[in-house]
Symmetry: C2
Subunit: 302 residues, 2 copies
């Protein structure tokens, strides 16, 4: 097995052609660039519009990366779906591909689900995948999934599947929760990743493993340098610059803003396409974003 992830991963945005089919060529190009910038590939996350893709589209895009020679050591594909059977299919596919880990949403259709129900779901997935090479990162994103990965659930899963439950992405946006995870679970080797680069320095100071962050799609080098230099005297100033860029991208809903900016920087407007129910960045707002990014000296190092 590959070493466990450390540092920065990008929930890779998914390029669509004008007919809204996934564009494997630009997807591979973007992933290769991310790897060159020291970012891991959390393909098929929230920012990837993964739940707007079919299972076969996800498999196809992962195969495209493998065919292009991208190492599965860098890959943490999202495989958690509402359906047990879909989740098992994608997880088995990722394990067979040799991916170093998977990022697993809880099933998110039914609300007010008990820890017992979530435990049963994760248990079934692990048992049906049936591989000692499976490494699961739990995906806690209550603002979107509306289902929480609680400390109690983590304890039960770690006890039952210690070699398989590898860590968590905390996208709660609540630092108190990340801190609790760092204190309770990181010491035993359960790796805590914050879900936004805004919390990266705090997470590393708390002993965490890194971050899996949207703006890793557009600003990976600067975030990686913060990760490398977190004990340097200028770490706080680095964090402030990273945060400023994040906040600028947030002028527009993040998926639309990042895709529009990638399209701008790569001179390929199709990159701005998103699948419904999401919408492209409106022209005027996008122009304001570009002005602001130029003002703060943002560069993508393509």
């Amino acid at each position: 097995m590959f070493p466990k992830f450390r540092g920065i991963l990008s929930p890779v945005v998914t390029p669509f052609k004008d007919d809204l089919s996934p564009d494997p060529k630009r997807f591979v190009e973007h992933c290769q660039w991310l790897v060159s910038q020291n970012a891991g590939l959390a393909v098929f996350g929230t920012n990837s519009e993964a739940n707007s893709l079919s299972v076969s589209e996800r498999r196809f895009l992962l195969e495209a990366l493998l065919l292009a020679g991208v190492s599965p050591e860098k890959m943490m594909p999202g495989t958690g779906c509402c359906s047990l059977t879909d989740t098992v299919e994608l997880t088995r596919h990722a394990v067979a591909a040799g991916c170093a880990g998977v990022l697993m949403l809880p099933p998110f259709y039914y609300k007010a689900i008990s820890d017992d129900g979530l435990f049963r779901f994760y248990s079934e997935v692990i048992q049906r995948t049936g591989s000692g090479n499976l490494r699961i990162y739990l995906y806690h994103i209550p603002p979107v999934a509306q289902i929480s990965i609680t400390a109690g659930l983590i304890e039960r899963l770690l006890k039952e599947y210690p070699g398989t439950i590898a860590g968590i992405k905390d996208s709660s946006g609540d630092w108190n929760n990340t801190e609790m995870l760092l204190k309770n679970f990181q010491p035993s080797g359960f790796d805590v990743f914050c879900g936004s680069d805004v919390f990266l320095l705090q997470t590393l100071r708390g002993g965490g493993a890194g971050c899996i962050t949207a703006t890793g799609n557009v600003n990976p080098a600067m975030i990686h340098e913060l990760y490398r230099n977190w004990q340097a005297p200028d770490a706080d100033a680095r964090q402030a610059r990273v945060t400023a860029i994040r906040r600028t991208f947030e002028m527009i809903p993040l998926i639309a803003s990042m895709k529009a900016v990638i399209g701008w920087k790569r001179n390929h407007p199709q990159w701005a396409n998103v699948r419904p129910p999401l919408l492209k960045a409106p022209r005027e707002q996008f122009e304001q974003l570009c002005v602001k990014l130029n003002e703060i000296g943002f560069q993508m190092n393509l």
Copy 2:
């Protein structure tokens, strides 16, 4: 095309074997019984655990019904998924099968989605399905999907796709919303179904088309009789009896309670199986439910 739906539809519960694979034989048997009780088949709804099934499992179960000779005139399969491509695949399949309508959830992963985004989603599905035989019933279930079908969205869809947008299932649980829909849209032939038999009499008095209701799985004959006799002098008393049975089933989460009772009545305990993240009814609670159902004289007329 078949006549539009009126009356009672059941969001058909999906039987699973002990390995949690769908059981087509018992599914067909249950659907045939429902049709014999004058209930339409809203297969693949919330109570069907449809989002816990893969696309291919849903197609397989629909094919099983067709093979068994169940008429597509009775079928309103749920086809709305988070993914545009999955939604189009299931909708095309339903139309090709000749189903009299489809019940369509909005995409429910991303939250705080605008009406523009939802309009774009439904538009893409309609255009890609590309059939004059498509009849869509919008599925408004904000407590679960966390995404609302607003009056503004309905207006825009009706204006753009008047022959295709056929009605709505209102599972908001909010009578004020159902009343608004009945007043604003029913007069122009947009059929309003309440999402619970508790509101059936009110809905019919307001000019609505009927109800698509969980307990249609276990109590279809009595609900149908209320529908047939809604102008009779004893209509309120009938509604009270229907509601009492509903409330009894709600002693346990509804999917688990209905499946356990079907298993009891059919003497086939596998019927109680549910897919995670849901959980079976606990034994003790189930026994209390049975006692209570016996007390109020509940019968399934199998």
